[in-house]
Symmetry: C2
Subunit: 382 residues, 2 copies
């Protein structure tokens, strides 16, 4: 297939581009380095130095013989999007090109506006370019499980049948998110669902939980092919922060009570899910939604697992509770359905001790590069 | 009260500003003439010439002795919004400042982008200016019943309790709109609801049906105080279009089967509702939603009423069915709850023969100004 990856320099975009290219797809990746720019501006750079996207593609070609087409461009500019869609004529577009940090979106007006403007405009430009130049193209959009929030009822895969006063209707599952970033993803969904109904677009929305891991078959080939690893409070997810705290000899800092439950998945599983979605397009003119996660953990459970991992490596890991900088439920019901991708053939890689050990081993050589000042919360929700 | 009206030059904004000023409130109105500019660009100007906002305010002062503060400025510019909020220090803000035409939002990329960008950015700037400068201010935001679409179940007032697999949760009533314009109002709701939860804003969302009428106690004082009356396919709602077709001696053109049902209300009732919302603010830190309508009609019922009205005036009115330019259900279930505003004291003005007669009589002197070329659909949904 011809697959266009928007946000191809990202934590997921780069490993996805490599995975798909090795599988024999024709891959073209676009990025405007927004994450790198924002990380630089907020003193939140990745732990492991990563070459730029053109250097990565060259290294990948040298190592594997496979090619990834690359362009640096800003997809908020409709001309850049149209050239990509009309020039490359993709069968599927994987849309990762969003400002992905919840804390960044909560820093202040400018950061919130950048998040709103970037995320909606890229999605909007994608919709219009596909309508005008490639209406048969399958849009695979990365949503997030965070769009659902933590409701009192089971989270279905995107849709829910509601019985009310003796009548029934089918609706998008109600969404209610915990950050402005997550709210822009809800707004993306509104936009895509409207244009699916009205212009017959074909869309898969992958409602993804937090992803962890640095390893895929491709990233293991050469350290220059590793994905970006952020451990700070702005770009680092909880697993990364805890792993780096363990390496740095600092206590793992749990936000509040630590009962916050989320559905996680291994980087290798994101790659599988995205390809499975591409190979199995939904019926034309539909919005298909999958909940993309493999296992649920509380923050406390993750802290305990990483403590065990660290202690196996004699790191003497402590756990500490700190004030929660976010506004979120710290103990709540959480039961998301996630069968759709398993039915398509997903073979999960679970968060085993070996996986966590492997992550720690990858991080350890970079211990001296850790900036301890950026791990604790720098952004508060109010 | 000190009340700021955003979009104070609009069909509703101007009569609202006058109504509140006469009631003794201190009123400040801002507008960037977006509707006038777009109407000019699409050859969709109002039937009755209307003086600009500064002239209107001067006439209003001459006639009533009451004052309305006025500023021409673009609220997409955060500086303009902040000056308004911080300078005027309103107790309530009434937010009408959106691109309001569904057909305009469906014309093409540029028009859709303008709608998305204007509507979200003004709401976003309002949120941030209130957070930073006037957190106790009550935001009264005009939503639309169109956000709900035409679901198979009863439409509750903003919220619904869902029972699912033996558990219960309370959610925003699911929204699914029929145009990009209406979709931007859903996205506004997402934005406001997020910031209500996170920063404790106080918001009333008035989910309004199509408004009809030219008369309020204030507009009747002087023809220069009349609201804008649009009858074209882009800005004219179905009632206006039918009235003008009756006057022009053209058949009333029903889109498709004509079973499309909506909840309507008289301009006088919008004015009441907005003041009732302002005088009865919800609890701090909550999002209150009212469905703002008084009667439901199908398009066929409206056509028949206007036919009767026209025939009473010997206009010999015919009704004709034409291809529906929109994508919408032409026969559907529709049962919206609308008790909240009645409980606050709303006294409805129904769509009586006298009301329709009065509208026709206001329009008749402008018969020669009717441009017959702009009444039929110029915009199709696909």
């Amino acid at each position: 297939m011809r697959i266009l990856v928007l946000g191809g320099d990202g934590y997921l975009g780069w490993p996805t581009s490599m995975y798909l290219a090795v599988k024999g797809h024709e891959v073209f990746a676009i990025d405007n380095y927004l994450r790198r720019t924002v990380a630089l501006a907020t003193n939140s750079e990745a732990l492991i130095p990563s070459p730029n996207l053109e250097e990565r593609a060259q290294t990948f070609k040298d190592v594997t013989g496979s090619e990834i087409g690359v362009r640096i461009g800003d997809l908020r500019d409709i001309k850049v999007m149209e050239e990509a869609i009309n020039g490359f004529k993709p069968d599927a577009v994987i849309h990762y090109a969003e400002q992905p940090s919840a804390p960044y979106s909560m820093m202040g007006y400018d950061e919130a506006l950048l998040t709103l403007d970037n995320n909606l405009k890229v999605t909007f430009n994608l919709v219009w370019s596909v309508i005008n130049h490639r209406p048969e193209c399958h849009i695979i959009k990365l949503g997030t499980m965070g769009e659902y929030g933590t409701p009192e009822i089971d989270i279905e895969e995107g849709w829910i049948e509601i019985e009310h006063k003796g009548r029934r209707g089918r609706f998008l599952f109600p969404r209610q998110a915990g950050s402005l970033y997550h709210t822009t993803k809800i707004m993306d969904t509104d936009l895509l669902w409207f244009y699916v109904r009205t212009f017959g677009l074909t869309v898969t929305d992958l409602m993804q939980g937090p992803v962890y891991g640095l390893s895929s078959d491709e990233t293991e080939l050469d350290s220059r092919l590793l994905p970006n690893f952020h451990y700070d409070d702005i770009f680092g997810t909880v697993i990364n922060r805890f792993l780096v705290q363990a390496v740095a000899g600092e206590p793992l800092t749990v936000y509040g009570a630590g009962g916050q439950t989320r559905g996680y998945l291994n980087l290798r599983d994101t790659l599988q899910c995205v390809e499975l979605a591409a190979l199995n397009a939904p019926e034309k003119g539909t919005l298909r939604v999958f909940n993309q996660l493999t296992e649920c953990f509380t923050v406390n459970e993750i802290a305990e697992r990483i403590q065990r991992t660290g202690n196996r490596m004699r790191l003497d890991v402590k756990i500490e509770r700190i004030d929660n900088p976010r506004k979120e439920a710290e103990q709540h019901y959480y039961n998301p359905v996630h069968t759709g991708l398993l039915e398509l053939g997903l073979k999960p890689h679970h968060m085993t001790d070996e996986v966590l050990d492997g992550m720690l081993e990858t991080i350890l050589p970079y211990k001296e590069r850790i900036n301890r000042g950026v791990i604790q919360p720098r952004v508060r929700w109010s």
